[in-house]
């Protein structure tokens, strides 16, 4: 028990650690991303799909120059179809960029899951070892009844299953990370630095999102495409004809949808900034809590060394401090991930 804090610190700061007999390769987030990008099947899929869209776009351009007749359908082929095809191509490029950013987030979130799984395994291992000790002590003690021995055996077997489950979870988390990074036995050093959300300028986030957000881009281009279609319809049909009315309705609907998406974006930006602030504030609280528990732990240590505190009470103070440390780590990770998602969604770095 006395070594728990040291063990925990080693897990947090580990370098060249060994898990289940596998030597870990320590990578920074950037190194992990480079490795992942080289081995990522999805990237190849994204690039190939982009090329298919490029071909489709070139085909519509060719059709526009060859087949465009001077009538409604012909003008759609000339102006409307290439615009739609170009929109799809640019949106695909934007999606591919987002997919790369998502990979960075996946690496960090999977690494956090792995760290939690490692700690859970460590706890399950400790519990099981204690149960084994209790059972063995009972076996060696002639005053313990066979019925109590059996109950202790049951508790021990139950914890063994929990340990097995924790091991599965740990292996599965390691496998997921290895799979993303494309190497076996990977460990990624988690980022520890983060900025305050109170420096975020709402207007700039909004401006940035207008340029980079895929949903907004698609919505804006849909409205513009509908306008092109309406302009063509206006040229060839009277305002009481069905195609004219339908094109006008399509244009108005697309404009409304775009306006709605702008309002929705503004709301989402405000909500997400507030969400970041909540997460950031909870870090400060967790830091204070950890400080209080550290003070209590140090006091308990002095009292224990002076012989005025029992070992159990000291262990309890130590456990509480460790828990507060884990809670703080978890809050920091949670905030860092939320910040990364914010940057990905709005193209705004802070």
């Amino acid at each position: 028990m006395k070594n728990k804090i040291i063990i925990l610190t080693l897990i947090f700061l580990f370098a060249g650690s060994i898990v289940m007999g596998l030597t870990l390769i320590n990578l920074t987030p950037d190194e992990a991303y480079e490795s992942a990008a080289e081995n990522n099947i999805q990237f190849e899929v994204d690039e190939l799909n982009l090329e298919l869209m490029q071909i489709a776009y070139e085909k519509t351009l060719k059709s526009a120059s060859i087949l465009a007749l001077n009538n409604y359908s012909g003008q759609l082929v000339k102006y409307y179809n290439p615009y739609i095809s170009e929109t799809n191509l640019i949106a695909k490029e934007m999606e591919n960029t987002r997919s790369r950013k998502q990979l960075e987030i996946d690496i960090i979130s999977t690494s956090i899951s792995l760290e939690s799984a490692l700690l859970a395994y460590d706890e399950a291992d400790t519990s099981y070892s204690q149960a084994v000790t209790s059972y063995n002590e009972a076996l060696a003690d002639p005053t313990v009844s066979s019925s109590d021995e059996l109950s202790l055996k049951y508790a021990m077997e139950s914890l063994k299953i929990s340990l097995h489950q924790a091991q599965n979870n740990m292996e599965s988390a390691q496998h997921r990370l290895d799979d993303i990074v494309g190497q076996d036995g990977v460990s990624v050093l988690l980022p520890v630095e983060y900025s305050s959300p109170y420096v975020i300028e709402q207007d700039k986030v909004y401006e940035s999102a207008l340029e980079t957000n895929i949903g907004i881009f698609k919505s804006k281009r849909s409205a513009m495409a509908a306008e092109i279609k309406f302009d063509i319809a206006e040229k060839y049909y009277d305002n009481d004809e069905e195609i004219y009315i339908s094109a006008l309705a399509g244009f108005k609907n697309a404009e409304l949808a775009y306006d709605k998406s702008l309002v929705s974006l503004e709301m989402n930006v405000l909500d997400d900034i507030n969400n970041l602030k909540n997460k950031f504030d909870s870090i400060a609280l967790a830091e204070l809590y950890k400080k209080i528990k550290l003070d209590e732990y140090n006091a308990a240590k002095s009292q224990f060394n002076a012989g005025i505190l029992s070992e159990n009470q000291f262990d309890s103070a130590e456990d509480t401090y460790i828990t507060s440390q884990k809670q703080l780590e978890s809050k920091i990770h949670d905030y860092i991930l939320a910040s990364m998602r914010f940057t990905m969604d709005y193209g705004y770095d802070f």
Partner: protein
């Protein structure tokens, strides 16, 4: 005394279905599978595909081939070969669909069956609690009359009795609703007289993880269909490679590049599908290993409770504990034995679920653990 009566009620309730639910003929599971419209449709379509196989192949063999340039000729040759191949692919895929549907229905039935049982157990527990609360309230009324408990305490007992009565009624309704849903699923209204709570089973035997993975990679419909699609791209490539085309024609260059990209995309799709399948089977298998250990733990629990009951019997015979405590001990043991049966049933359902994922369908009666 109250608890003893409650235990008698539990035993009566739990014995009732076992006595009443026996009948001859098709089991509810067989009725459920047999009355599935989609499965019937698959079987019909499969028979039709088999019946028209030769005719369809002949039709494609006589297909008109375009002679308008080597590109279109290669394209029509590829289409002909792919169409002939597709006839057998359709038959194979339909047979897979039948097997998959049957297995899925079986798993679905087992899950619903367990849910029905759980709803009934929950109802039984609530009825017993309501009975106990009512008895406590009746006893409280007597004590209040004699001045042993206050009016406030009596009111609390009355409240508890009413609350537990309401809870029991709610659980009864919930059970009735679950039973109705179960009957609807099975296809005709069942009552207690019609079916059997047949949970008792042998533990199903599992095979090595490598076997499941290998079987899934060869037989899982998702992999098979993706491989069939890839084969069709390979056929296109085979014919396009056989002829030389004018590179000056953009539409041909584009079509060849599109084919190249689509072939590669399909190869990557198969790679991803296989990888996901392996991961998913591995996770499910590992979970199954733990569930298997839990069965052993449940058996150990029975051993602990048998031991406890033995000690309690001895204590009762020597007058150290009353009959109520001994009965409670017996009930705990009986409950643990029932839990074992349910745990095995759930484990077997998980085994079937793994087999379903691997498209592995062992013959009925085969594979029981020794």
């Amino acid at each position: 005394m109250k608890k003893t009566l409650a235990i008698i009620i539990i035993l009566a309730i739990s014995l009732f279905p076992a006595i009443a639910f026996s009948q001859e003929g098709d089991s509810p599971e067989e009725i459920y599978i047999g009355s599935d419209a989609q499965l019937a449709q698959f079987i019909e379509e499969y028979a039709e595909l088999l019946e028209t196989r030769v005719e369809n192949i002949e039709k494609y063999k006589d297909m008109h081939l375009s002679r308008g340039g080597s590109y279109y000729y290669a394209k029509s040759l590829a289409t002909k070969e792919k169409s002939i191949l597709q006839v057998d692919y359709n038959i194979e895929n339909k047979l897979d669909a039948i097997k998959t549907r049957e297995t899925w229905l079986s798993i679905d039935f087992r899950t619903s069956f367990i849910n029905l049982y759980s709803a009934e157990e929950s109802m039984n527990d609530a009825i017993i609690t309501a009975y106990e609360s009512k008895a406590e309230y009746a006893s409280g009324q007597k004590k209040n009359g004699l001045g042993f408990i206050s009016n406030g305490d009596l009111l609390n007992l009355e409240y508890n009795a009413m609350a537990s009565e309401n809870n029991a009624l709610s659980k009864e309704r919930k059970f009735e609703s679950t039973l109705r849903a179960f009957n609807y699923k099975v296809g005709y209204p069942l009552s207690y007289d019609d079916y059997v709570y047949a949970f008792e089973e042998e533990i199903l035997k599992t095979l090595e993880l490598e076997f499941y993975i290998s079987h899934a990679l060869d037989n899982a419909p998702t992999v098979k269909i993706a491989t069939q699609n890839l084969n069709k791209y390979y056929i296109d490539q085979k014919y396009f490679n056989r002829f030389s085309f004018s590179t000056g024609l953009t539409y041909i260059t584009e079509a060849l590049r599109e084919l190249e990209i689509n072939t590669r995309l399909q190869e990557l799709n198969i790679e991803k599908t296989k990888k996901n399948l392996i991961d998913s089977i591995t996770d499910e298998y590992k979970a199954l290993v733990i569930e298997r250990k839990k069965i052993n733990l449940t058996k150990l629990n029975i051993e602990v409770l048998q031991n406890e009951y033995k000690i309690n019997s001895s204590l009762y015979n020597r007058g150290f504990i009353d009959k109520e405590e001994l009965s409670e001990s017996a009930e705990r043991l009986s409950q643990a034995e029932q839990d074992l049966i349910i745990t095995i049933y759930k484990y077997n359902t998980q085994v079937k679920s793994l087999e379903y994922k691997c498209a592995y369908y062992p013959e009925e009666g085969n594979g029981n653990e020794k």
